[in-house]
């Protein structure tokens, strides 16, 4: 073999800085798990403290009669839940939230999809249009809500000015119990359509061009046919996904109600999250508030699991 030539490979040893190599340190075989624990422990502890324990606490509080600042606590079983469902305010709140979601979701999807289709139809000015329509999603909703209040002002608001100029009926939009919820839903649509639009844009980009070419050859080359044969079917999974995500966001509506109507007039714009906030933190009826929280949690978890299910299907079919 190669005798002394073996030494030449190890080069000139610089005297100054090479430390004693080949220090024999037998390190335990557990260095990998130990490093892992050190890296993960702070996060893990905080996860337990800020997520696991609180969610358990919510369930516990929901079954007691504890009131914040009070010293007594006793187990009351499902009494809070019965109170909650018996309360007309809660039922109103629940109903309002459902109506709100049922208006916001189709509206957002429809408009978002329409705008996405229009933007993708031609290459000119795509970035510009995309930016404009995405802006409401970025803006602080609290501030946008105040701006909408001005628009909807009964006397000096732009909406009523425009409507009366066009001969359309006007109203005190935010103070009329018949119109307040739909108007809030409109603001919700306005805020979310940019988000839906962007997701649809991504979905449209992912449609392979050869599908359109195949459709052309098969004779489906008008815009309506292309839509029906290729675009809408291919957007199916994305649409389902967007529906669920927008629905979750709609269920979590809070800012506009808190700033503009505080649930009024009457209970016409009372929504779940606002009820939760008020009962838990303003009235300090913590047991009751916790029960509302549990209901809210149930809805959101169901929707999230649906979302996960949709994602799984997408992964398997693609």
């Amino acid at each position: 073999m190669m005798p002394s030539a073996a030494m030449s490979g190890h080069g000139a040893q610089t005297a100054t800085s090479k430390p004693a190599r080949l220090k024999t340190r037998v390190v335990d075989r557990f260095s990998e798990p130990i490093a892992a624990y050190l890296l993960a422990l702070p996060g893990g502890a905080l996860l337990a403290l800020l997520f696991i324990l609180p969610v358990i606490a919510v369930f516990v509080i929901a079954t007691t009669n504890w009131s914040f600042g009070g010293t007594s606590l006793s187990f009351v079983g499902m009494r809070n839940f019965r109170d909650v469902f018996a309360d007309s305010t809660f039922r109103m709140s629940f109903l309002n939230t459902i109506v709100y979601v049922l208006i916001v979701v189709p509206g957002t999807i429809g408009l978002g999809l329409l705008i996405a289709l229009l933007i993708e139809a031609r290459p000119s000015l795509r970035g510009f249009y995309r930016a404009i329509h995405f802006l409401p999603f970025m803006a602080t909703l609290a501030a946008s809500a105040v701006a909408w209040e001005m628009l909807l002002h009964p006397t000096m608001g732009l909406v009523n000015q425009a409507f009366s100029a066009l001969g359309l009926p006007t109203a005190n939009w935010l103070r009329d119990e018949k119109t307040v919820l739909p108007v809030l839903a409109l603001i919700g649509i306005w805020q979310n359509l940019g988000f839906a639009m962007v997701l649809f844009l991504a979905g449209l980009k992912a449609i392979p061009a050869d599908l359109y070419e195949a459709a052309d050859i098969d004779g489906a080359d008008g815009w309506f046919d292309r839509l029906r044969t290729v675009t809408l079917p291919m957007l199916g999974p994305v649409t389902m996904f967007v529906v669920v995500v927008v629905a979750i966001r709609a269920f979590e509506v809070f800012d506009t109600i808190a700033i503009l109507t505080q649930g009024g007039p009457g209970r016409a714009s009372e929504v779940l999250l606002y009820t939760l906030y008020r009962e838990s933190f303003e009235y300090l009826r913590t047991g009751y508030g916790a029960a509302v929280t549990v209901v809210f949690l149930g809805i959101i978890v169901t929707l999230t699991l649906v979302q996960v299910g949709v994602m799984e299907k997408r992964v398997h079919y693609s």
Binding site: M1, M2, A6, M7, S8, T14, R21, R25, V27
Partner: protein, 388 residues
């Protein structure tokens, strides 16, 4: 310096045994190739040698020092990965300097920005830069020191990976299929460069590949592995001419060796495709014997004879200087591949009947389990027997 001793190394993942009791002696300064198909455990063995995986049982010694339990950086080995594993966000110079920085600068000196201000850091960094330049020049990449990996070609990246291993001046170089991501022409060139590198450095190289050409051309010795076991350890030419297992014979040699089945007829004669061959082995009549015939072991018989094999040409492949002729022989299910020089084969036509003779002494006999039966003398066919 001394060689590597690997004793009884086993490794399993879940219920799958990837390495089964591997024992191997690597000589100091040798170029040893571990050759085998994908999944035979060779990369796992390499990772165990590097300390990136831990074996379930067995020990590894580098000279007098036991490596088991030592973290990779303390083992005095360097590794060139199949994917090169260059740090994509660092320049070539930084990629090559990193191992030296880790060894010679302590944590305070390595601290970003401020560490450079500590006393002594500047001197060490200059030293490191000089060594990096030296190695880069030796590999021909000194013009590339300021570039990032994404800006380099495959061959250049490979050299940087080798350079990063070289700067550490390790006792052992581990190479995990370093050429498999290169195109054919580059591979030939890099093979020569690696061989030259080994000659110059004289360190121990342990090279893993599934490519038999690399194994044959680069190695002092070849270790053939399959299914987690070592089949044979020998010089390349011995692996080819004297395989100890059917799997070894089939793995090395291109085109693949032809295998024909035969049966023991009466003591010491085996019946193969109507031909009787004397075989000095005590086996019962009817025992299955496998005969390996390399493509170059058959020749065109000058004239018909009682010991020639009749065959029909089914496929002709012209390779330039050689011709591969695929023939069909009576009683043999698969096509037989022959390698003939161009001047002998250029007139052969498809469908033509041929008379073939065996070169004496070039047959390899294996028993039904694939173990080699070594014969003491050259085997010449006795007579042809008409098939029933």
């Amino acid at each position: 310096m001394a060689g590597l001793s690997i004793s009884g190394v086993s490794k399993g993942f879940g219920s799958i045994k990837v390495l089964k009791d591997i024992s191997l002696q690597v000589e100091d300064g040798e170029f040893l190739t571990i050759l085998g198909p994908s999944g035979c455990g060779k990369s796992t063995l390499l990772k165990i040698l590097a300390g990136l995986e831990t074996q379930d049982s067995g020990s590894i010694f580098l000279g007098e020092r036991q490596l088991d339990g030592l973290r990779p950086k303390h083992r005095d080995v360097a590794m060139v990965f199949q994917s090169y594993a260059l740090y994509p966000h660092m320049t070539v110079a930084w990629n090559m300097a990193l191992p030296l920085r880790m060894r010679r600068l302590n944590a305070w000196q390595r601290f970003p920005v401020l560490g450079a201000l500590l006393p002594g850091t500047a001197a060490v960094r200059k030293e490191i830069a000089a060594e990096v330049s030296r190695v880069a020049a030796a590999l021909g990449i000194d013009q590339l020191l300021d570039r990032k990996p994404a800006q380099l070609s495959g061959g250049q990246r490979q050299r940087v990976a080798v350079g990063r291993a070289m700067v550490r001046e390790p006792a052992v170089f581990l190479m995990d299929e370093p050429l498999s991501n290169l195109d054919a022409k580059l591979r030939v060139q890099m093979r020569a460069e690696i061989k030259e590198l080994h000659r110059r450095l004289g360190s121990t190289f342990i090279y893993v590949t599934h490519d038999q050409t690399e194994a044959m051309t680069l190695s002092d010795r070849v270790v053939v592995m399959a299914d987690g076991e070592i089949l044979q350890v020998a010089r390349p030419q011995d692996i080819y001419a004297d395989p100890c297992d059917l799997r070894v014979a089939e793995f090395v040699g291109s085109p693949k060796i032809n295998i024909i089945e035969g049966r023991m007829q009466r003591d010491r004669l085996v019946d193969v495709a109507g031909l009787l061959l004397p075989l000095d082995v005590a086996s019962a009549v009817g025992t299955r014997i496998l005969i390996g015939v390399r493509p170059e072991a058959l020749r065109l018989a000058e004239h018909a004879s009682k010991v020639a094999i009749s065959a029909t040409v089914r496929l002709i492949e012209h390779m330039g200087s050689d011709v591969f002729v695929h023939v069909e022989m009576p009683g043999v299910s698969d096509l037989f591949v022959m390698r003939l020089p161009l001047e002998r084969a250029f007139r052969i036509q498809l469908g033509e009947p041929l008379q073939l003779g065996l070169r004496p002494g070039q047959l390899l006999f294996f028993d039904a389990e694939g173990r080699r039966i070594r014969t003491t003398s050259a085997v010449t066919p006795i007579e042809r027997r008409a098939l029933a």
